[in-house]
Symmetry: C2
Subunit: 281 residues, 2 copies
DNA sequence: TAAGATTTGTTCGTATGTATC
DNA sequence: GGATACATACGAACAAATCTT
């Protein structure tokens, strides 16, 4: 029983009234409503198509009308229709295929795609390691607490599989870096198991943000055997708690783990910052 | 000191993973160089333009080259260039203006825009009131705890202004609904004050999600004087805690408030569901 | 107020690449 | 390999918006 909870709606267009001229109406205003004739911008066309999707309760996998049919029914040119489809493709709502039987198909917006779009929002902001860990400490214990009572044996096996990538000490710097990434993958997998889609997405996004940030700041460039060992130890404890379906202890383990990781990451960040000051310009 | 923390990244396309050039790629390098003819998709063009932005450290407000210049330098047709710009506009990275001195300008991706894009990801998922409140309980107390010691008098005044919209009992059903929305606005404003951009965004997004969901489920359609009074009372207490810069009590107040609101929303949700079962087919 | 310049926005006709049969 | 159906790409001409004079 699919329930579309959110009305997609809403183009970003007219956000800021920073231009003080009281220009009114124009094609920009209420374009989406009466898209039958005349002023049709691609965004309005995209909204109209979305309305169709909602009205007809189309689901992922369903196909949209063909390009030339869209052009007919929307009374727009090919270029405009293409731009509208491009908008929807960028939003992750459709995918197009060429060839017979091809066309635009509705797709679920994957977490990956949504993360990439969301990451743009933080591009010009100053996100720090501290910010991310503040949230991981608040959310990941909650995540494993809810997971523990209902985690399946298959899931536990998958987690063990991820862990197997870094149970052995690394033999090279490159392997060290890969192990760090795999360690983060453990948490990414955890977040995918969440029954709360929002919680799962938030946790997964934080991991992604951390990965970008860590790589960007080269925090993973140098070995840190202590962090690795403690990380593995905590994750093994967590698996044990999962096996006994012990929610409370899973939560406690994750909380301790997160706080320890936070301390170490911040310390490392500070060291690197100092290093830059010493050696750099 | 702006620090771009994230590599912007990532088209969803599955076809051609172009050259894995790092962030230090020059303007010339990239997709356009190799494929002057034939193989140039708008997405690749958009990525190339993003690479330019990074390489030249362009910031919000800066202007991109004009359309015809892009066409020249990228060796693509007008339609393709336009589609590429449309992609970036959809992602919220640029805004275009017509007329002399017009063109494509780099913009920060607003929280509103990012929220709208992210909401698409949850469109086909079953997000419930319970899911949202689980996260609000985890995050909003954290938010006000960090806010309390450093909240400004202006901010307190703004919060009072928002509250003034619903301190009086509503005189009509319509006013009742507007008051509920204003009450949510209180939390949206709070989230904007956060020094942690990720925490702020998460809290704001939850409010948005809740608003859509509540409207969708008609939870706000019927009066609920108890919820209103308790909400106002809690918010007044919170303002008091802000005035004394008491972080701990701000956190405690918000936690109690969130749990109370959760109980009431879930109860209301259940009632409505029952009502549907009774009256509906 | 009005005309002109500049730049994006839209449309159309046509050609080409690509996947299926 | 050929035919078909479909998206993808190109370029010229026109329309609309906005700034300047």
């Amino acid at each position: 029983m699919k329930q579309p909870v959110i009305i997609p709606t809403k183009a970003p267009t007219e956000s800021e009234p920073d231009s003080p001229n009281g220009k009114s109406a124009g094609p920009g205003a209420g374009a989406a409503a009466g898209a039958s004739k005349g002023r049709n911008r691609p965004l309005a066309v995209a909204e109209t198509i979305k309305d169709w999707i909602i009205a007809q309760s189309l689901e992922p996998g369903d196909r949209l009308p063909q390009e030339h049919q869209l052009i007919e029914r929307l009374e727009v040119s090919k270029g405009t229709a293409r731009e509208a489809l491009k908008v929807m493709e960028t939003q992750g709502l459709i995918r197009t295929r060429t060839g017979p039987g091809g066309g635009a198909f509705i797709t679920e917006v994957s977490a990956d795609h949504a993360s990439a779009l969301l990451a743009n929002h933080f591009f010009f902001k100053d996100v720090s390691i501290a910010h991310i860990y503040e949230l991981r400490i608040a959310l990941e214990p909650q995540l494993v607490q809810e997971l523990a009572p209902r985690v399946t044996n298959d899931q536990i096996a998958e987690l063990r599989g991820v862990m197997s990538a870094y149970t052995r000490p690394p033999t090279s710097i490159e392997e060290e870096r890969l192990q760090r990434v795999a360690e983060l993958e453990f948490h990414a997998v955890l977040s995918r198991y969440s029954r709360n889609p929002v919680l799962g997405f938030f946790c997964g996004f934080l991991v992604r943000l951390l990965k970008d940030l860590a790589v960007c700041k080269r925090i993973y460039d140098e070995p840190n055997p202590e962090l690795r060992e403690r990380g593995v130890s905590y994750q093994e404890q967590l698996i044990e708690a999962f096996e006994t379906r012990d929610a409370e202890s899973a939560r406690a383990i994750m909380e301790v783990h997160m706080r320890a990781a936070q301390r170490m990451m911040l310390q490392r960040e500070a060291e690197i910052a100092k290093g830059f000051l010493d050696t750099d310009s």
